[in-house]
């Protein structure tokens, strides 16, 4: 760090600061669909408080959020809606696919569900479980924070 020119030092520090700020104030857009949504609400509640990471405020409008937690099974009718909400989110944005149904279609391998939400939106973190407990979801969120801090996931 000391050997680089002062200009570069400033840019990397600003970059790091930006990444730190993004992880510490991530606002999730509420996209709770099914059973996983209840566990997501439980994660935001008092026992497994998401507020300590600054994330207890679930923004109603996708335009004000940067994280979309797809919690639940995505049916064929819901897929265009999902895509539309994702498109409305401003950059930088991240997607966590919560639960087995969102990640791969889960136990419902049939005509009605999209087999994995990554067929509709790009996913950054997959959280397995049916439904994943609040601890699993928090591990997924903290892993996302980690990856953003290290620069592995840009946006």
């Amino acid at each position: 760090m000391a050997t680089t020119a002062p200009g570069n030092l400033l840019m990397t520090t600003i970059d790091k600061a930006a990444r730190w700020a993004r992880t510490r104030s991530m606002f999730p857009a509420s996209f709770g669909l099914a059973c996983c949504a209840i566990e997501m609400m439980a994660t935001g509640a008092a026992h497994y408080d998401l507020g300590r990471f600054g994330m207890e405020v679930f923004r109603a409008s996708p335009r004000q959020s940067d994280l979309m937690v797809v919690a639940g099974r995505v049916s064929q009718k819901m897929a265009p809606v999902l895509r539309q909400v994702y498109d409305q989110m401003p950059d930088p944005k991240w997607v966590i696919s919560m639960g087995a149904c969102a990640s791969t279609g889960g136990m419902f391998n049939n005509y009605a569900l999209v087999q994995g939400v990554d067929q509709v939106v790009p996913v950054d973190i997959y959280v397995p479980g049916c439904p994943p407990g609040p601890q699993s979801l928090m591990h997924g969120i903290l892993t996302l924070h980690d990856k953003i801090m290290k620069g592995e996931i840009a946006s």
């Binding site: 109603a60 819901m78 809606v81």
Partner: protein, 446 residues
């Protein structure tokens, strides 16, 4: 969406001129004759009121507003098309199907002992009730009776599940109306109950514990202490809810007289559960068609009077207290015995026996690869879930999979109360009404 784009009058810059005929709409009449009057107007002594409602509005002055499917207050993916006249709702159309999972089709592929995993995810706030309805239907087709200990364990778990489901209903009800603390309170209490479920069944939600023939395993040692802790803690916490809400003028103003349904409308529309009981009809399946030995326990069924949001909230709080009293009675009187039926064709043998007996090994193999065959027939069994009558219509043709498995979902029929409850009411009461009906979209769409 494309239809909306065609009818929208969008004027894009650089294209032809918009067809905007000049109107006087919104223009204030300026009285030029009396200068004294103009001074008065400027000083605010005369109010030239343009904002008086005309009582009759034309058909084309109504506006169609789309609410959902992604919206924080619609309890899941419910879409409402609301026809508004100013702030007053004239018509509502709920559009569902955004969570359709094809569970009835999947139910025809899974065998009878796997069916519980499928059914339990329908009404995901009351999963044990789903499993209970399905298991009772299968047992009826098989013609077997579960032992009394299994029946008592079922009652214990389903009544605790009723408590946890009503806690979520109260939490979301409170948050939607504005008492955001209710969300934290409700989920805090629920954590205690879910911890007990995790200890007993292995999962916090979607347990697959109540299976045809009994329950999957016996209660763990020390369960009485956990249940006693819940029975002691929960009523005290319910007192906290009363402190927050019961004499709160804002809460009362937002819930009394809002979202009213009458008893005749409710019965004609097939509405059951707390919504029906809030209109004054005393109907509870646990009293009318008792199942699983619940007639042995004494409890009351709270019934409302006005059919509004306040009555439904009050009924749910009272039902939690009644459920806790049932749980206490079960805890005191639970019989000893088997936790599943002794029929070797239905119940898998204990794991230890497989090493010793060839017959046990064969039974285990057949049960877990093919499953047991159920004699041909059809039946309909209903239980009282926290939302109303949850029924399972099961048709078997003698194979190891159901021929047709249909669930009568309470939220599906209760949702038909929404247009009635919201007609001629204000837009701002929509969220309170939906929250009080407590629809679970997994149940509605299956």
């Amino acid at each position: 969406m494309s239809d909306d784009a065609k009818t929208l009058d969008v004027w894009v810059a650089g294209t032809e001129e918009p067809d905007l005929a000049p109107t006087d709409e919104g223009a204030q009449e300026i009285s030029v004759d009396e200068s004294g009057r103009r001074l008065d107007e400027q000083f605010g002594r005369v109010v030239d009121d343009d904002y008086v409602f005309d009582d009759e509005a034309d058909e084309d002055e109504r506006m169609i507003l789309n609410m959902g499917p992604q919206h924080p207050s619609t309890h899941g993916v419910l879409r409402l098309q609301i026809e508004l006249e100013g702030e007053i709702i004239r018509r509502t159309k709920p559009i569902i199907g955004y969570l359709h999972t094809g569970m009835e089709k999947t139910g025809e592929q899974l065998n009878f002992s796997q069916g519980g995993t499928n059914v339990t995810r329908m009404d995901y706030l009351a999963p044990l009730h789903n499993e209970l309805a399905y298991s009772l239907a299968v047992e009826r087709l098989l013609g077997i009776e579960v032992p009394p200990r299994a029946a008592a364990i079922r009652v214990l778990l389903t009544e605790l599940n009723r408590c946890s489901s009503h806690l979520v209903a109260l939490a979301t009800n409170g948050m939607d109306i504005g008492a955001i603390s209710m969300m934290i309170y409700g989920f805090r209490e629920r954590e205690q109950i879910l911890a007990f479920f995790e200890k007993t069944t292995g999962l916090r939600m979607n347990h697959n514990f109540i299976r045809p023939g009994g329950v999957a395993a016996d209660l763990p040692p020390g369960w009485k202490d956990d249940v006693a802790a819940i029975i002691e803690e929960l009523p005290r916490r319910l007192g906290q809810y009363d402190d927050l809400l019961e004499n709160n003028p804002i809460w009362l103003a937002r819930t009394k007289g809002v979202g009213v349904i009458s008893a005749e409308e409710a019965t004609a529309y097939g509405i059951t559960g707390p919504t029906l009981r809030s209109t004054g009809v005393d109907w509870d399946l646990r009293k009318a068609f008792p199942y699983s030995g619940i007639e042995r326990y004494e409890f009351e069924v709270p019934v409302g009077e006005h059919g509004d949001v306040y009555d439904r909230y009050r009924i749910r709080v009272e039902e939690i207290k009644q459920s806790l009293s049932i749980v206490e009675q079960v805890m005191d009187t639970i019989p000893k015995g088997d936790y599943r039926v002794d029929d070797r064709k239905v119940t898998p043998p204990p794991r230890a026996r497989i090493d010793e007996s060839m017959e046990a090994l064969i039974h285990h193999f057949k049960l877990f690869t093919e499953g047991y065959k159920v004699p041909a027939g059809e039946t309909y069994v209903a239980v009282e879930s926290p939302r109303g009558e949850l029924g399972c219509y099961l048709v078997s043709d003698g194979e190891a999979q159901p021929y047709r498995m249909h669930t009568r979902a309470p939220s599906f029929s209760n949702l038909q109360a929404l247009p009635i409850a919201m007609a001629d009411s204000l837009m701002a009461d929509t969220v309170a009404t939906i929250a009080s009906l407590d629809p679970v979209m997994g149940d509605v769409d299956r």
